[in-house]
């Protein structure tokens, strides 16, 4: 009872009446946000509001300057900012609303000291949210309109397996020489001989299309003895040996031979810029029809094999990193265990030193360590291993030392009491207590290291991550997709296995 009244009295102490009248508090807060609240004896609230509105104002001016970097004078900058990014108008309006609301808040606070209005904080959160939206350049429209275009490449990533299989290819081709330009002394057309494929062009000379759109000679092509029903590409080999496919109306020309292996088609000679040579009266161009057919058994593609190889490399990067990490972390962990090191001030100092270093190493992300390691030893798996070893020592050192710290002294005492030797006591009372957590942490770390080595690969630490960025750079989404699939499958399996093993040990 007496306690209760004391509490109330105490409450009244804080809630003394305002020093100023409500309207004055409001006006003061308009002049300097928070001043009204402060004079209404809500000092901390006033200070908080002042600091927030100052920081929001600062952020807002920074965004304006960033949006209109070339303008001079704040008025111009703000006008230009509104013009270039209409969203800034919304933020400005909210800011003004907050400014006014602080005055309203001051009025309410000064008027009734027993109530604490919270409306101003909602406005405050709204302003921060709007600012965050602007700073984050959040753009839902782009997300929606461009999602469509991302469809095909994403589709290839999602189901890349066409690329996993390749066939031995055989090429069936026949060609005809074409002289450019016609000189009056023309080549004889090809003739059908036996069952070999033949391409007959008429005429056997002509002129190329020109850059300003004047069409070149139309060649009539007849093909004999091609593989029936198979797509046949029409290609050119120019006098300097470049091969390119014939395009007509924006599409590659493809003809399909009939059941006898015969086809015919008309070709407009293409445009090509060639260095003129005064000595030669003409160039010989070669036109040919080409069929490629998959023969022989399907086999795994080179890309697929590469992805598998790199996946294995990744797993081993994780394994080696874990291996060295464990070997180095075990001794370190004894120095980082408080219960072992609290005997003397010197050992305690070592403890703090080791703990400090471990914490610093651990707080630096492995990807940063990888960048450092790449600088030291160059691109490749070794850099990845080094980076992960570093991080593993720090992470495992901490976990191991905590396992050592949490050893229950009871069993040690009990085993000693049976007349056991020191070594027997360690083996029967200490080892059973630390081995399971050590094993568990180690497996967990291996799991983490394999995941991380894919990330570390992105910055050159070898393994599948490295391959993945390369595929993405050359826009080979199918191969990239295979890499992503393998990473996902491996991580899932590892996750499961490590959870299973750990469940058995802990």
């Amino acid at each position: 009872m007496s306690n209760n009244t004391k509490k109330l009295a105490h409450k009244d102490d804080i809630r003394q009446p305002s020093l100023v009248k409500p309207p004055i508090a409001a006006v003061l807060s308009l002049i300097l946000p928070g001043l009204g609240q402060a004079l209404a004896r809500a000092m901390r609230r006033g200070l908080l509001l002042l600091l927030t509105i100052a920081s929001i104002g600062g952020l807002l001016l920074w965004r304006f300057k960033l949006t209109a970097p070339r303008d001079e004078g704040w008025v111009n900058i703000i006008k230009k900012g509104w013009h270039l990014d209409p969203f800034l108008i919304a933020v400005t309006v909210l800011f003004a609303l907050l400014y006014i609301w602080i005055a309203v808040d001051a009025y309410a606070i000064a008027k009734d000291r027993t109530r604490t209005p919270i409306g101003v904080f909602f406005v405050l959160i709204a302003v921060f949210f709007a600012l965050g939206w602007q700073i984050g350049q959040i753009d839902i429209v782009t997300l929606i309109t461009q999602a469509d275009e991302a469809g095909p490449p994403l589709g290839r990533v999602a189901w890349p397996w066409e690329k996993a299989i390749a066939y031995e290819q055989s090429i069936l081709a026949a060609s005809a020489d074409i002289r450019v330009p016609c000189t009056g002394n023309e080549l004889a057309p090809n003739e059908i001989a036996g069952s070999e494929p033949v391409l007959i062009a008429t005429p056997t000379c002509g002129t190329l299309s020109t850059q300003d759109g004047e069409a070149g000679t139309i060649l009539h092509l007849e093909g004999h003895n091609f593989a029936p029903g198979e797509d046949t590409a029409i290609k050119w080999k120019d006098p300097i040996g470049n091969i390119f496919r014939q395009r007509q109306e924006g599409e590659y020309v493809v003809v399909i031979p009939d059941a006898e292996g015969y086809f015919e088609t008309d070709i407009i000679m293409p445009y090509r810029l060639l260095p003129p040579s005064a000595t030669d009266p003409f160039y010989v161009w070669v036109i040919f029809g080409e069929q490629t057919a998959d023969v022989g058994a399907a086999h795994l593609s080179d890309d697929f094999k590469l992805v598998v190889e790199k996946m294995i490399e990744t797993i081993f990067i994780g394994m080696m990193a874990t291996f060295f990490g464990v070997i180095l972390a075990v001794p370190v962990s004894f120095f980082a265990a408080r219960n072992l090191m609290s005997a003397s001030p010197i050992t305690l100092a070592v403890y703090y030193l080791v703990r400090g270093v471990l914490n610093i190493i651990r707080s630096i992300e492995p990807i940063i360590w990888a960048i450092i390691a790449v600088i030291v030893v160059g691109l490749g798996p070794f850099a990845g291993i080094l980076a992960l070893v570093f991080h593993s020592i720090a992470a495992l050192g901490k976990l191991y030392s905590e396992a050592i710290e949490s050893i229950d002294p009871g069993p040690i005492e009990a085993i000693q009491a049976t007349g056991a030797t020191w070594l027997q006591t360690v083996v029967y009372a200490v080892v059973p207590q630390i081995v399971p957590p050590f094993v568990s942490f180690t497996i967990y770390r291996w799991d983490i290291n394999v995941r991380m080595s894919t990330i570390i690969g992105l910055v050159g630490g070898g393994g599948i991550g490295f391959l993945l960025v390369q595929y993405i750079r050359i826009l080979d989404y199918r191969s990239a997709g295979m890499a992503v699939w393998f990473i996902a499958i491996t991580v899932a399996i590892l996750d499961y296995v490590s959870a299973e093993i750990r469940a058995r040990f802990v």
Partner: protein, 268 residues
């Protein structure tokens, strides 16, 4: 026979846990140590088998001063004294069987024991002990999977493996409910009466003390303030009890219907 002479223990931080304590335990006794929390019961028991090094005094165990022993000699004498703990002190991640066999470590050549090899004879002994305590079917479970009462029985079995002449029991039933408390104390009583082992046990509850002890000593602030025979303790009055336990003590009834744990806090 165990003879404690002028035993004093001062911890590193200056706490005087035992002051000049002297008493004798004859073979075959069930001696109970009572006393308030912090009165030095655990310190006393742990000094006897040298889990704690006493500061001064003699602990004459069958003619040998335990306080002076080191290394091999200490271990040889330790294995004659089994110990049971309030919190069981089992290796929780090891199996029940391993925990029980660990009681045999003092008799096992170090090389064999490090490889987990125990003689057939020892294994036979372990099974006998488990059977005697009725936990034969739990042998291959992990110690932590057992209930409190079962764990304490493993603790007793481990002590039995030492084939001890004496058993030190530091509040062996303080973590157990009344039914289990009686069952564990009955095992100790059997070891005392059937196997002739000396038992030195600290207990908190007058009822248990009255039922099982053959003699009682009371500790307060590290000094012996009470000596009583079985008859004395059965006739003990609240005043005498308060003398040992201090003013705040109440006479608790650790009957089957009572809640031992709640009472433990009351007594403390």
């Amino acid at each position: 026979m165990l003879e404690i002479r002028n035993l004093t223990k001062i911890y590193d931080d200056g706490t005087v846990a035992l002051k000049n304590v002297s008493f004798t335990v004859n073979d075959g006794e069930f001696l109970v140590v009572i006393g308030l929390s912090g009165s030095g019961k655990s310190t006393l028991l742990r000094c006897i088998n040298r889990l704690i090094d006493p500061t001064e005094g003699e602990i004459i165990w069958n003619g040998v001063d335990m306080a002076q022993l080191q290394g091999e000699e200490l271990r040889k004498n330790r294995r004659q004294i089994g110990m049971i703990f309030q919190h069981f002190n089992l290796v929780r991640r090891s199996t029940v069987l391993t925990n029980v066999l660990a009681g045999r470590l003092g008799y096992t050549p170090q090389r064999n024991s490090l490889l987990g090899r125990f003689s057939e004879n020892d294994k036979q002994k372990a099974w006998t002990a488990l059977r005697r305590l009725g936990i034969e079917d739990q042998a291959h479970k992990l110690a932590r999977e057992l209930s409190g009462g079962q764990q304490q029985r493993v603790g007793v079995a481990r002590a039995l493996m030492q084939e001890p002449l004496m058993i030190l029991a530091d509040e062996p039933v303080a973590s157990l409910d009344p039914v289990l408390a009686h069952s564990i104390l009955q095992y100790l009583e059997a070891l005392n009466q059937e196997d002739g082992m000396t038992v030195l046990c600290s207990l908190h509850y007058l009822d248990l003390v009255q039922q099982y002890s053959t003699r009682v000593i009371g500790l307060r602030d590290g000094e012996i303030v009470y000596h009583g025979s079985r008859a004395d303790i059965r006739a003990m009055t609240d005043e005498e009890f308060k003398d040992i336990y201090g003013e705040e003590a109440v006479r608790v009834s650790a009957g089957l219907e009572g809640n031992l744990n709640d009472n433990a806090e009351g007594a403390a």
